[in-house]
Structure formats: C-alpha cells, structure tokens
Symmetry: C2
Subunit: 309 residues, 2 copies
C-alpha cells in the first residue's frame, strides 16, 4: 500500500493530522525516569539511552490512539553515540507496534550510491549475507535536496517497493531559511523554495496513491504562511510535513491553507509543546504525570487544527 | 590550535594532501575478515560492525604515515544500525590514535537547536549529568547549507572552542548537483554554488588560523574543474575538501587550481580507489594483501597530486 494512502487512512481513523515529535533532551526528562536508568546502568550513555526509551514509551502510550504518526529527530539520539541510536531504533519499533507511522527526521543527503545506503538504513532493507533485513524500519524519512535528484532518487525507489515515504525539505521553519531558499532564480523568476516545490511535485508524479497524493512529500514550515499557501498551489499532489507549530511560533491559522477539502494533505508537528508539556502544568510532582500532560496537549492541538481543516 | 593550522601541519609533515575515504561495504571486505567476524559473532549486525572495524584498522595501519587525514562516510555504517555506529566511533578513535585527523562525512543539517545537537555529537561534547563528554570526537564534519546560517552557526561555534573544523557543501561532485547548485540567482547573477561560496567565505572570516585559512571549509567536487577554479577565487581563505577523484572521474589536472603557492589549500579524497584497490591487483589471495594494495594506491595518488601542486 502506498505511503500516502497509509498516512491518510491513519489520519482519518484518528481524526487527527498531528505528528508528535519525539525529541528527548536529558535535562528535560522527568528525574524519576533518569534516576531509575542511572540506578540500573550507572552514569553511562546506556543509562541515557534507556531513559530516552522509557520516556518515549510513556509518551507513545499516552498519545497513540490520538495521532496518526510520530517523528523522532535523530540528532538528539546521535549525541549519545551508538547507545543513543539503539534508543532511536527501539523507539521506532515500539511506536510501530502501537500502530503509529514513524517519520524519521534525519534530513539525510548524499550522492547516489551513498544515498542508497541511507535509504536502506531508514526505510529499506540492508544487504546482509545474501539476505535483506530492515534496520531503522521507519515509514518515512526526511531528506535535503541540495545535491539534486541523485540524492533523492534512491529514496523514491525504496518507497515504491516498500510502501514507504520521503519528505524533501522545501521551505524550512527557521529564521535563516531564506539565506538560500528565498533567493529568486534568474531564468524562472521564482524563489528557490518554489523551484524545489516544482521538483518535488515532479519527483513524485509516478508515485501517486489512491488518495491522489504521492509518497514524495515536502517539509514546509508553519512560520511562513504566505510561502506555504503558494507551495500548496505548486504541489497539489504532495503531502506537507509542517514543523514550526507551537514553540516556534506557528498557529492553526498559519497552516490552514495546507489542507484539502477532505481536511487532509498535511501533517503538523509539535515536539516540545507536547512531550515536555508537563513542565508547564502546575500539578506535576517530579514529572510522574508527563504522559497525561502530553495527552492533554495533543487533545488541544487536535481541536485547534481540526477547527481549521 | 585552529583546525586549518592542524590540517596544514599534518599535510606538510606527511607531504600529502590525500584523504582516504573509509567507506566499507560488506560485499567488498576481504572474505577472511568477514568469516572471522561471523565465526565470533554469528551472522549478526555485530559481526558486520566488527568486520568493518577490522578492515578499517588494516587500512589505517597501512596508510597512516602517508596521509594527513581519513574520512569515514557514516551512511555505510548507519545501514547496520547502532552496531554500525559503534564501528564508526571505534574507527574514529583508532584513526586519531594513529595521528590522523578524522573528517566525519555526515552532511548533517537542521535548524538551530537541533544543529547544536549534531555539532555536539560529531565535533563537540554532549551534556552528560553536568559533565561534558565527547561522542564521535571527529576533527571535522561535513554539513549541508540548505537551511542557511542557522544550521551552520552551531558547528562554527563548536569549532572555535575545540580546534575543530566544518566543511560546508558548495559544489558537489555528482551528475545532478546542478539541479539546484547551478541555478543563477536573479539579484546577484551568479550560480547558487558561487553564492554559497561567498557565504562560506564570510561564515569563516573570524575563524582564520595562522596559515590564513579558516576552520570553515567547503566541499567542492573534482568533477567540475571550471567551477572549482571560480570557487577558489571566491573563497581565498577556505580549505577545499574535494571528492570525485578517481572512481568518479576527476584527476589531478582537474583539481590543481585548488592549491595555493605552498601546495596547500585543499584535501583530495579517494575511497574506493584506495580501500578496495586489492580487488584490482592480480596478486590477491583472498584479499590478505588489501593493506599493501591500499598503500600502493595512496603512494601513487600522492605522486599524482604532488605533481600538480
């Protein structure tokens, strides 16, 4: 089954277009979880990895019936080395086991044969003594287009065979995204993000699902609503993965143009605003209620977004 | 000591501007190494990781006195999950122990706070129960500029404190690099790669070492000699990391314009052409001579490049 169809089905079933970002930070994990991991594993990277996994499981348990997907950001795991990557892999596995689609936020990019290795790592299967085995086994992965189609094609190829998806950076949510993305090209007289939009639409043209969307999606930040609106026109068959809601300043009104008449076509991410919601609720006692606080935050975000789509 | 100064010192000492790419592929590792790892660890990802490390150690032992640096490409490790990342970390450690500078080829990129996590992972130190600990502990890392300066700044900041370096993708060696990089901007009337060149020169302007080069380098492919020549004019204070020599088609003549009057200013990478040289030498017996073959290939490459710089 095509990735776009899988994502739409999950979104309809949960009546949600929310994606929870699983971006653990050691100093924001409730201390009872960290203390337990340290008691078992000492002050080691293994303890950090176990604390991350325990925390993520708590979040997943609390929200899995409310959202179609989660998005672990691999940078936060990678900074604890191979032990951190172990926690990333186990998090992906646990989330999938709870019926969630997993979007690995890795923003990988490289030339052809190296991009193939990344594609195998995240969404495909690796060569293993004549067998093919999944590694991260995510449902989709984010990629960067600076190297052109060579760096995207290997991912698209894997998507086709495996029902997986890829989200290409088009217009990112950060303040300096315009350094390159807003430059206007001489020949087309359009900004680079719009040029990339045309590319992404074409790269997925042969990968359309029943729902009309392709398995090649685009990352479009909530913090640039005007650009988002234009990109929706440029990419009618592309699912938007939208960061920048909440902590970064984007709101429901800023993303409403991303949705189609069925209320689909985009997935909106919140990480800190959900997973560390417990820090802002007055009733916390050592963070034991981090799951409930996350659940409450997701319910509120679902209501917020369902109001505009 | 500034990264550029460290790299120049190493290049002078070895009389070499060669960087050996450590890009292991399971089906190209000599079978005696793979068989030994499988005998010890079964047909597991751990066996693959051990085979990669054993192979890399053999290459490092064979070439460490001939070259200033090595460049492991993390994609090839990542496709064997956390076990592969373990081999990556151990490879970095072993290479540094043999006096080599390590350039982690990761092409990471993300927004500010996430880029900070990547910077800590590769060249900095991570937060660890109030302490700061190195993780990958590479000497430099490659990054992608699609997100603008937000995604670069955290790396530059770490470079300053730690004597580390960063190489920003400017003009890559792959066939479709032009999809985005060759587009001409309307306002500046220069291609995107040249615009990026100006950015990289400015991003490193305050990070100059004694040698006149900055800790912010640029990736410029050997396969586009005309663009390389132009970029040398645009970035007089930037060290070039040059892929595309050998297997991808670039030769010494194609890269000669990258060097300054001291014969420095650029580092040229070869991976497959060195580490799998044993596949082309007739004398191999099950690959036992892979180290000698790699050493011969490096000697030849040193001669080739020393002839034009």
């Amino acid at each position: 089954m095509n990735f776009a169809d899988r994502l739409k089905e999950a979104a309809l079933q949960k009546n949600s277009v929310v994606c929870v970002g699983l971006d653990p930070r050691l100093d924001q994990i409730p201390s009872f979880i960290v203390n337990k991991a340290v008691a078992e594993h000492g002050q080691t990277f293994t303890a950090v990895a176990n604390a991350f996994l325990e925390f993520n499981k708590g979040i997943i348990d609390a929200v899995h019936d409310l959202v179609p997907c989660v998005k672990p950001q691999i940078a936060f795991y990678e900074e604890y080395g191979f032990q951190g990557i172990w926690a990333f892999e186990e998090t992906c596995k646990y989330a999938r086991g709870k019926g969630l689609l997993v979007i690995a936020d890795a923003k990988r990019n490289d030339i052809g044969s190296t991009a193939e290795a990344y594609a195998r790592a995240f969404i495909g299967k690796t060569d293993f003594f004549g067998e093919k085995l999944p590694v991260m086994d995510a449902d989709a992965v984010t990629v960067t287009p600076y190297l052109g189609y060579d760096g995207i094609k290997p991912f698209v190829k894997v998507c086709k065979g495996e029902g997986k998806g890829v989200f290409v950076l088009v217009k990112t949510s950060n303040p300096s995204s315009g350094d390159l993305q807003d430059r206007v090209t001489r020949d087309e007289e359009i900004p680079v993000y719009e040029l990339m939009g045309h590319f992404v639409e074409s790269w997925g043209a042969e990968e359309l699902g029943e729902c009309g969307y392709s398995s090649v999606g685009a990352v479009v930040g909530a913090t640039y609503p005007k650009e988002l609106k234009r990109l929706r026109e440029v990419m009618p068959n592309v699912i938007f993965l939208i960061p920048g809601y909440g902590a970064q300043g984007g709101g429901a009104e800023d993303v409403k143009d991303a949705f189609d008449e069925d209320g689909f076509g985009a997935i909106v991410v919140s990480a800190r605003g959900v997973i560390f919601a417990y820090e802002k609720t007055g009733a916390t006692k050592g963070g034991e209620d981090f799951g409930e606080a996350a659940r409450d935050a997701v319910i509120k975000m679902n209501e917020d977004l369902n109001g505009v789509r």
